[in-house]
Subunit: 211 residues, 2 copies
């Protein structure tokens, strides 16, 4: 497998966490969002919409490209069910996916590069904008997580919800969110950051990382 991705991209980091947790080998291919490579060939052939991450896979001798972190995650979970990132019960799987969604559709879209550029273009303050949505979204996540949190965001097993949490808190700090207001989320983060597979997936550990 090849992962076309960018060290600091939140959704790229989610997928790296899933790959490292599952102990799946992959080739890292950097796509620079700063240089706009996601909108150019050859990347456009893999992702017509122009996004990272994209996972390149080979199934029955045919090369295919799966885009969008949620779709890549579900692909990995179905294709490589060993070391699962979802619990077994139908309802618990729903709870983990709901936590992930509070990040995926509830926070991240509001602070990606194209959104912040648009906020600036209409005269808004992009830092204040990002902090507003991050703080609002993390508050919802902290509330929603309380009922089932354990060592990790859902129970005592690392899950897809944690794969979404870590990049979101990384992004929150970049964009000035008030991370310290969320004791449950930061406590889970601290636990996760000690794990070797998490260290390997972190933005700073990637070959295209910048100081």
């Amino acid at each position: 497998m090849k992962l076309y991705n960018y060290w600091r991209s939140s959704s790229s980091y989610r997928v790296r966490l899933a790959l490292h947790y599952k102990q799946l080998a992959y080739e890292y291919v950097p796509v620079s969002l700063i240089k706009g490579e996601q909108h150019q060939e050859p990347h456009r052939a893999k992702s017509p919409a122009g996004y990272v991450p994209v996972l390149e896979v080979e199934e029955r001798g045919v090369i295919a490209h799966v885009s969008q972190s949620i779709a890549i995650f579900e692909y990995l979970e179905e294709r490589y069910p060993e070391r699962p990132l979802l619990p077994r019960s139908f309802v618990q799987r729903g709870h983990v996916r709901a936590l992930a969604e509070l990040v995926n559709s509830g926070i991240q879209p509001f602070h990606n590069l194209s959104t912040l550029n648009h906020v600036k273009s209409i005269g808004g303050d992009e830092k204040k904008w990002a902090a507003h949505f991050i703080d609002q979204g993390l508050a919802a996540l902290e509330k929603q997580a309380k009922a089932h949190a354990g060592v990790f965001l859902f129970g005592d097993t690392f899950s897809w919800a944690d794969c979404c949490l870590l990049p979101q808190l990384f992004g929150a700090r970049r964009f000035g969110g008030n991370v310290d207001a969320f004791p449950l989320l930061t406590r889970v983060e601290q636990t996760c950051l000690e794990l070797p597979f998490v260290k390997a997936a972190r933005p700073e550990a990637q070959p295209d990382a910048q100081p």
Copy 2:
């Protein structure tokens, strides 16, 4: 099952389409977003983050609540695999989920009520804001869909991608998106709107619909 939802909510409409396609009976419980009922008890007990839709289910005698349309969809697909909304191959499932994501995290978050209120509060024009993100997102969806579209958005079988497309085009018209610029999307929409199960799931057909 009970579906706590709102007639005009985009993510509620997605879940209704899935339920009707799968021919699953459910009780419709309206939650008025206009009155703010999603933030009040008793709804907060079902969705601490304060969202619709929420699916109430009973598993082994225990009542549980699954929130977030993506999580509810995956629950329904796993729990009731008859009349599937995803293809069978791993890669094709990835493609359908990626199309759904272009709507779920790529468009809808930008025109929900709380986003538009915030845009207004910083002096932005919420109609122009919504139209910008809708047009940009639908353009990405039209491009991404081209490779695999058939009668429906992915191939010749109704899928979860169509469940996300229909509410998005409904929302696009409400918010002044330029829907006519997307011939593939509108052609698929016209096909879908003739289907009886789609008619049953449409906003206008719900008990809490307003003129």
